[in-house]
């Protein structure tokens, strides 16, 4: 049933080390290594370009002669983002929102998944089905919008927190992981007189830190990168100013910039367009770097997580 065993370590070791090759390295291996190098470049070059642009002078950006190496080195753009209230507030708000959402989501995911691993839980199957059905049939954009309208949640931060706070997919991953913890541990704790809550806190949670880290990453990335809910549920200008996550702000800034750039092109470009471009690039860096700093450390865990999810889902 679950591909990954109790702690998930065995499997990703296998995944990472691949087939153990007993033969010596051949030319074919070098060719494959070279292809992989090219693939890595394809993934990295766009990000390097953004980094280089954000560190370049505005006029070089306007002249489009920045590719992978910054020209006219300066960190003005970063300083500007950090002193522009609009960007700074949005970044801070997105960070706060991400923390709130992640903590809430992970707590609720554990609450949803843990009881379902009890084989004799009455109604457990019905509850699982209740959760699972929503993966295959959802109400749709407009009904969800109307719900928030009825709950008076539009234009409030709640609209960005609650509607997506539990993902069934992640509940499945969590449940599969908890299934992998040997029953004997639980039974031993129960014989010692521990109730289900105590068993959860003292037996399951310490063992499931890897999966908690993985799912936290998934939820955090989802919220940090999320943009469509803010686009749909924040309608009036005051709410947009206050609660726009960084992605929505970036989207709007870029849309406006393209419009003004079109105008500027008509009226002979000046450097202000270039300045706004470096700022955009710096904002992009701010919006991606937090995640890029975290995910490599969690790689061995999320690989296992994705595998369980795909097998079960």
């Amino acid at each position: 049933m679950s591909v990954v065993n109790n702690t998930g370590t065995l499997n990703h070791k296998k995944i990472h080390d691949g087939m153990i090759k007993s033969r010596s390295t051949r030319t074919g291996d070098w060719i494959i290594a070279a292809i992989c190098f090219i693939l890595m470049l394809v993934c990295l070059v766009p990000m390097l370009h953004v980094l280089a642009s954000s560190l370049s002078a505005a006029e070089n950006l306007i002249r489009n002669d920045v590719f992978l190496w910054p020209k006219g080195w300066n960190i003005e753009a970063y300083a500007k983002v950090l002193t522009t209230p609009k960007y700074l507030r949005s970044l801070g708000w997105t960070a706060v929102l991400t923390v709130i959402c992640t903590v809430l989501s992970i707590t609720l995911t554990i609450c949803a998944a843990y009881p379902l691993i009890y084989p004799n839980l009455k109604g457990g199957k019905a509850i699982s089905l209740f959760f699972l059905l929503t993966m295959y049939f959802s109400a749709g954009t407009i009904p969800n919008y109307l719900l928030l309208n009825e709950l008076k949640m539009l234009d409030t931060p709640y609209a960005l927190i609650f509607p997506n706070c539990i993902s069934v997919f992640n509940v499945i991953i969590m449940r599969s992981f908890l299934y992998g913890v040997p029953d004997s541990l639980r039974e031993a704790a129960e014989i010692d007189g521990a109730g289900p809550l105590r068993v959860l806190v003292q037996v399951y949670l310490p063992l499931s830190l890897p999966v908690i880290a993985t799912l936290s990453l998934f939820y955090a990335v989802g919220r940090w990168n999320g943009f469509s809910d803010a686009l749909m549920y924040l309608k009036d200008e005051a709410a947009k100013d206050k609660y726009s996550p960084i992605q929505l702000l970036l989207y709007n800034v870029i849309q406006n910039a393209t419009k003004t750039a079109e105008q500027a092109a008509l009226e002979n470009a000046d450097t202000s367009a270039g300045v706004s471009k470096t700022i955009q690039m710096a904002t992009v860096m701010f919006a991606t770097v937090p995640i890029l700093l975290v995910y490599p450390w969690l790689q061995r865990y999320f690989v296992a997580g994705v595998t369980i999810g795909a097998v079960k889902g």
């Binding site: 590719f67 289900p196 690989v303």
Partner: protein, 539 residues
């Protein structure tokens, strides 16, 4: 007559207008009651104890009868002008027969559990029950019952209810020994008595004192009690500990589940009630249940959508882009996984994987921004490097290709994870055997590796086929621009623009419903197909 008048006065407060809250809560209560019966019925049916099937028969009879009575009322209470004919007459007949049927099943269950009593000659008491039920059925067909025309003769009403009362009293007497013997049945006669006490006055006097229908509420409560006891009787045999001990030990689990269940009920299931807006007039000031039907018998918005060229184009774009994704985007991770699998240097492999996973963590807003920088027609880096002016992002077919390419760029590395996991499951001996047979690298891939991940590929293919009409929002929305909106508007964007920006809520709900239904159909169909070909499928 005086008594009836007095009764009528006593209950007159009931006909006072009920509050709005009750009006919207009533259907939910009914739905809950019917769902309760359905769940208990199925659950009892699956029990292995004696007579479980008979018991579930009793519950299902009740379910059918109550559903017949309640469903028209649910429909009537949620639609201002109920399209259904007034079914109260039939409902009286059905609930009369339902009561008799339940008592009959109860007797059959008793006989199954305790055997027939041996004493007595000739007509034994327990044989009276089927006879009485036969009489009830016969009497109910007499014209003077007035089921249809409401002109009941007092005599026949009294006769038919006397038959029911006799059956009930007899059943109470028959159950008395069992109720003393087994704990789970100790309240059963009381429950039957309560049901009769609440039901009979209503059945006798419903024509004269309509307000008495309030008695159906305690009657239903007593029915729930009865069904719960029967359910208990099916459990208690065999299992070691009682329901009380179970709850004492595990109530915290239900406490944990409370918030998630509430979340799914409110944010996933409750919005489904808004789907009815697809059949109603375009108005979001009140719940669509209370709105009148749209024109064309409620199908106005579906017809409008299918007549609308813009919708046709959105449908085509969705399917076309998804098909391209399926044909071009799906094989890529497989190829990449094979490549990574062949990579001989473990540390370098780990680094490659880390880098390939990077784009997955970027949002579409950022990717579209970078794409514009790199692929802009006049100021894009790529065009500048090669000194060309290819309209990558602003010409229809170029845009389609870029849509696919960027999708591959973002998710290809990430999607290798699942294939790589499947690859580790392949038995290493197979490779050794192939090597002994003199197979080269490509031959090993073709004959060992690919067959080894075949089932994974099929499962992912099913999931992708199931999503053929599904559409992401972020990806086309952020990549789109004015020049290409003929090919970039997918259904999700159509719904957003028409519904949330254009206030055509009913139309977009209809489109969304169509999309959801087709998605489910595709998923089920492709899963069935996969199972036909001997694959595992996704459920």
């Amino acid at each position: 007559m005086v008594i009836i008048r007095a009764l009528s006065d006593a209950f007159s407060w009931l006909s006072a207008p009920v509050s709005d809250a009750w009006q919207s809560a009533e259907p939910l209560l009914y739905v809950g009651f019917l769902a309760f019966l359905l769940i208990v019925g199925i659950w009892v049916w699956n029990q292995k104890g004696t007579g479980a099937r008979i018991l579930s028969g009793a519950v299902f009879t009740l379910l059918a009868g109550e559903a017949y009575r309640l469903v028209p009322r649910i429909v009537a209470s949620v639609t201002p002008k109920s399209p259904l004919p007034d079914a109260t007459g039939y409902a009286g007949l059905v609930s009369y027969l339902t009561m008799g049927g339940v008592l009959l099943f109860l007797e059959l269950y008793r006989q199954q559990r305790y055997g027939r009593t041996e004493t007595g000659k000739g007509l034994r008491r327990e044989n009276l029950i089927p006879v009485l039920f036969g009489l009830m059925v016969a009497v109910s067909f007499v014209r003077f019952n007035g089921w249809m025309d409401g002109e009941a003769s007092v005599f026949w009403v009294a006769v038919r209810n006397l038959l029911l009362a006799a059956m009930g009293v007899l059943e109470i007497v028959l159950w008395l020994p069992a109720s003393r013997e087994e704990r789970c049945f100790r309240h059963l006669p009381a429950a039957i008595a309560l049901i009769l006490v609440f039901y009979l006055p209503y059945a006798l006097l419903e024509m004269q004192v309509p307000e008495l229908s309030v008695l159906m509420i305690p009657r239903t409560a007593a029915l729930i009690w009865l069904v719960w006891m029967l359910r208990g009787s099916a459990v208690l045999r065999g299992t070691g500990y009682s329901f009380k001990t179970y709850i004492k030990r595990y109530w915290t689990l239900y406490l944990l589940l409370l918030v998630p269940i509430a979340f799914f009920a409110i944010f996933r299931y409750y919005p489904m009630s808004y789907i009815s807006l697809a059949f109603k007039q375009n108005n979001i000031l009140m719940h669509p249940w209370k709105l009148p039907l749209a024109e064309e018998g409620g199908l106005e918005w579906f017809m409008n959508a299918f007549k609308d060229n813009a919708f046709g184009r959105a449908l085509f774009n969705t399917v076309f882009l998804n098909l391209l994704d399926l044909c071009i985007g799906m094989p890529m991770p497989i190829i990449m996984a094979l490549l990574l699998n062949e990579l001989a240097f473990p540390k370098y492999k780990r680094l490659t994987q880390t880098v390939l996973y990077l784009p997955h963590f970027l949002s579409w807003v950022i990717i579209s921004h970078i794409a514009l920088r790199l692929f802009g027609t006049n100021d894009g880096i790529i065009n500048k490097l090669f000194n060309t002016t290819v309209p990558y992002m602003s010409e229809n077919n170029h845009w389609r290709i870029m849509y696919i390419v960027l999708g591959i760029w973002k998710e290809c590395g990430w999607n290798t994870i699942i294939y790589l996991a499947a690859l580790t499951g392949i038995n290493a001996e197979l490779y050794e055997a192939a090597e002994v047979d003199g197979a080269g690298r490509l031959q090993k891939i073709w004959h060992v590796t690919l067959p080894g991940i075949r089932s994974t590929i099929i499962v992912l293919l099913i999931m992708n086929l199931g999503r053929i009409l599904g559409s992401e929002f972020d990806r086309p929305y952020t990549l789109a621009n004015k020049m290409v909106n003929q090919v970039s508007t997918t259904i999700s964007i159509f719904v957003y623009e028409r519904g949330l920006q254009g206030n055509q809520y009913s139309l977009s709900t209809a489109v969304g419903l169509f999309q959801s239904i087709v998605c489910v159909i595709f998923l089920v169909a492709s899963n069935t197909l996969a199972k036909k070909f001997g694959e595992r499928g996704i459920w």
